[in-house]
């Protein structure tokens, strides 16, 4: 005889941050070239461990997400490698800047390639505007005393213009090997 049970106690969750709202058309006023230049700058700041410069790219409603198991389950109901809001990004940066975040002290030597950049569409944001959504591939080479690690993934970004500057509102990195055990990820992927 089959047992009838229903999963109970699921708290009400907000829509998933990645696909919980409709993908709109690419908003007006964006050039592929300037988008790419922004992504390359973000990559360089991360590669060079310029924590202040990197943190300054983010909007106040930032989401920085590195799931496990492919695209991941809902990040408020299941664990992720990283799921930071603006506050937690700030904490992460303060920690690493103490110089005693041992997983990044000394910092990793890093270089990454961002490629296959595509303008995918737009997503409505909480401020009533529409962020541009961009997909890209990333391949990062990390060197630490423990050895070298090659990190590959697909990154989805959302960008917004704030006071004439391009800012980063959302970044999700789906690591190619996120269904396996991965080593310490101390740097900014």
């Amino acid at each position: 005889m089959s047992v009838m049970t229903e999963k109970t106690g699921d708290a009400v969750l907000p829509p998933r941050p990645d696909n919980g709202t409709e993908l709109l058309d690419v908003p007006d006023g964006w050039e592929a070239r300037e988008v790419e230049q922004f992504l390359y700058r973000e990559a360089r700041l991360a590669d060079e461990n310029d924590y202040d410069g990197w943190e300054a790219l983010w909007t106040d409603d930032a989401i920085y997400w590195v799931p496990v198991d492919g695209e991941g389950d809902h990040p408020r109901a299941t664990v992720s490698i990283i799921f930071d809001n603006r506050n937690r990004i700030s904490t992460r940066m303060k920690q690493v800047k103490t110089g005693k975040r041992y997983a990044q002290a000394p910092p990793s030597n890093l270089r990454r390639i961002i490629g296959n950049v595509e303008l995918l569409g737009g997503r409505a944001n909480a401020e009533g505007g529409v962020d541009i959504e961009i997909g890209a591939n990333v391949l990062a080479f990390e060197s630490r005393p423990r050895g070298n690690t090659l990190w590959g993934g697909r990154t989805t970004y959302r960008l917004r213009r704030v006071d004439g500057q391009i800012r980063l509102a959302y970044k999700k990195v789906v690591l190619v090997d996120n269904e396996q055990a991965v080593p310490t990820l101390g740097f900014l992927i």
Partner: protein, 73 residues
């Protein structure tokens, strides 16, 4: 004939009434089948369903013999 029922889509004749729906409470999707006349429920997974599809007509007919399981006597 189908109608909306909390237990799923209803498959009904003058002899039997069952509701079927996809159930996603397990670690992968299953078919939930409810005998609406008794409330008895059976879940069928993909491999079981595939096996049903390949069941020879004769074997399926044997299952319909009322003394086969339910009214074994």
């Amino acid at each position: 004939m189908t109608e909306i029922h909390p237990a799923g889509q209803v498959i009904e004749s003058e002899f039997a009434s069952v509701a079927v729906k996809l159930d996603e409470t397990g670690n992968s999707v299953r078919l939930r089948v409810e005998d609406l006349r008794t409330g008895r429920v059976r879940f069928l997974d993909a491999l079981e369903l595939e096996s049903l599809v390949w069941l020879a007509d004769g074997h399926l007919t044997q299952l319909l013999d009322p003394s086969h399981e339910r009214w074994r006597g």
